[in-house]
Symmetry: C2
Subunit: 159 residues, 2 copies
């Protein structure tokens, strides 16, 4: 961790989390995508104000950064988050290919504030037959055939 | 699993995965949000065509269903996915509060087709100090203070 620079941007992510929570836009979470010394995108939780359960701060910041940079890969960027990302946001962080992740509060702090992050970290690794969400699998062969067509597609774009 | 109804909608999710993959819009993944006998929203992978690493089929379908129904909760709905959701999409499925999840291909099928889903399922449960993504935590107390303000906010909207 590059202490002074990282703390500068992390402080800004925390500021965003407070400002937009107090403004009634959603939960107390903020995030930034930074490249070098430049803030590429800001995000804050907008689940309840935009009716989008995926509008967590990190997802919002990643989507906006990609839109601004016209890319689906954020190599060379760092994600700052006011709280440890939930599994949705952590996987989004990996899919975005940012270089590093810096966060402030822990999943246990989020749990104490009433959020499911910590529980989801326990739930997702379970077999789908043992999760709380009723889940079933069917027609696997039909879907496997589409993957074969993907592999045979000469102009496919990996991501 | 309600076999005939579920297979009908799952077949449609697989059809979407093939159609939009062959059209060059992204990876071979499709999803539907269904309420009763009605398709509320369709989704397909649009990562590479829209420069959005979070535009997986399930996330696209969930976001669109919520937009159409003007809600951040999809209680009473079922999510159909042509492949087992990746951790981002599975957590989004939980956050959306759908009643059930039905999927076709497995994470191992996706891995065989070149996707990171299975690897992410192994990576996310690790301690952040042991993950491949360089990660650090700082300023926890400053962010905890914002959670205290959230809990003290009389008009907060849970999600």
């Amino acid at each position: 961790m590059n202490t002074s620079t990282d703390e500068h941007f992390l402080r800004e992510a925390i500021r965003l989390s407070r400002h937009h929570m107090l403004a009634g836009e959603g939960g107390p979470f903020g995030a930034l995508v930074v490249r070098g010394d430049q803030i590429i995108a800001q995000g804050w939780n907008r689940v309840t104000s935009t009716n989008d359960p995926t509008a967590h701060a990190e997802v919002v910041a990643i989507r906006d950064a990609c839109a601004k940079l016209n890319t689906f890969r954020l190599d060379g960027c760092v994600l700052y988050a006011s709280c440890e990302p939930c599994p949705m946001c952590l996987a989004a962080t990996y899919w975005s290919r940012v270089d590093r992740l810096i966060f402030a509060a822990s999943r246990s702090d989020a749990a104490a504030a009433g959020f499911d992050d910590e529980w989801l970290y326990q739930e997702l690794p379970r077999l789908h037959t043992e999760r709380k969400m009723p889940t079933a699998q069917a027609m696997q062969a039909e879907a496997q055939a589409v993957f074969q067509e993907w592999l045979a597609k000469a102009d496919r774009i990996a991501y």
